[in-house]
Symmetry: C2
Subunit: 185 residues, 2 copies
Amino acid sequence: MPGASLTLRGIGKQFDVSMTPAREAVRRLVAEGALFLSSSGRVSTPELSNERIEELAALRAMLEPELASRALPRAHFALIERLETINQAVSQMVARHDAIGYIRMNLEFHRTLYLRAQAPAMLMMTETVWLQMGPTMRALYGRLNRKEPPPHHRLILSALKAGDEPGLRLAVRADVTQGLRLLRG
Amino acid sequence: MPGASLTLRGIGKQFDVSMTPAREAVRRLVAEGALFLSSSGRVSTPELSNERIEELAALRAMLEPELASRALPRAHFALIERLETINQAVSQMVARHDAIGYIRMNLEFHRTLYLRAQAPAMLMMTETVWLQMGPTMRALYGRLNRKEPPPHHRLILSALKAGDEPGLRLAVRADVTQGLRLLRG
DNA sequence: TTGCGGTTTTTGTGATCACAAACGAAGCAT
DNA sequence: ATGCTTCGTTTGTGATCACAAAAACCGCAA
């Protein structure tokens, strides 16, 4: 949960290692912005302000349409088929109210598409943004129980099939910003 | 230099600490993409391929105009004056062929502007991109000896003074992509 | 009940060590 | 000369420890 605090010894015990590897993992996640490091060295999951959430949404809205656009020329039928399979899994997660599974599958959908962009640095930055929103997304998607799968995924898929680059950019941007609109407290 | 290898014990000795803090610092820089971690755990500065350089340039071209645009409404005279001072320092570095000082001052110019954007996550991603290009920039700017200060800084300053948002975006994008065009080997 | 000292426990930090894997150099064979 | 093997050295990893700072706890007083 956002704001939950972590201890090196606790993590170490949880994974049956000493403090040293736990420390490394934690500090890496801090460097990526996925965990918050207090001035006294204590570590906790971040509680994002509304401004921060909107900033991260703006980053996604810049990065992800570009990744999708770069993936478009390389998106052959096998990829689109795989995306449709993942999208069905997303719908299943919505149906069974599995918030964590929903987030996982939703990001899997996006990552599978973006991998085709052959832009590793861009993809890594995008995943860093996702990581920063992780605890917040989990808390809020768990709270509200949706009935419908994300509507823009179908738009993304049809734009991919049609080779419609502006439409794809729009669909991705809409998917990203619509999902994040729910997080505004 | 790009490709130079680093050892934990070496860094520790250099800064009069043990391996432990050296390891943490190195792993953080690896997480940020500033250092390269081989599969065997060895660490070195990265050697960027041309594709990677263009990708990082594309990231700068997306992020930095947005940051400048967000800073524009808050850019008062004191800030512009400070930017002009920094820009003079940039020119001095060019004049005395100080590649490191030039890179430092050039980024200082950009960071000073972007700080006004009140967008810490965006600024951090941008600085991460800078960090990834660090060794490569240093190697290449040291090699070629320029005579002229960066021409687009003046354009940025006049767009700031005029409150010209599209012009500012264009000037920033041009400054970023022009600087990076020199790095294409 | 609430606020405040003082004590105890928890927690991160940095150092050191043993160990295994990877590297590099030297020697040998072709 | 070149490629391969071998052996000594370097290097990262994870564990453990001492220490200091911070947090949590407890009891007491207003």
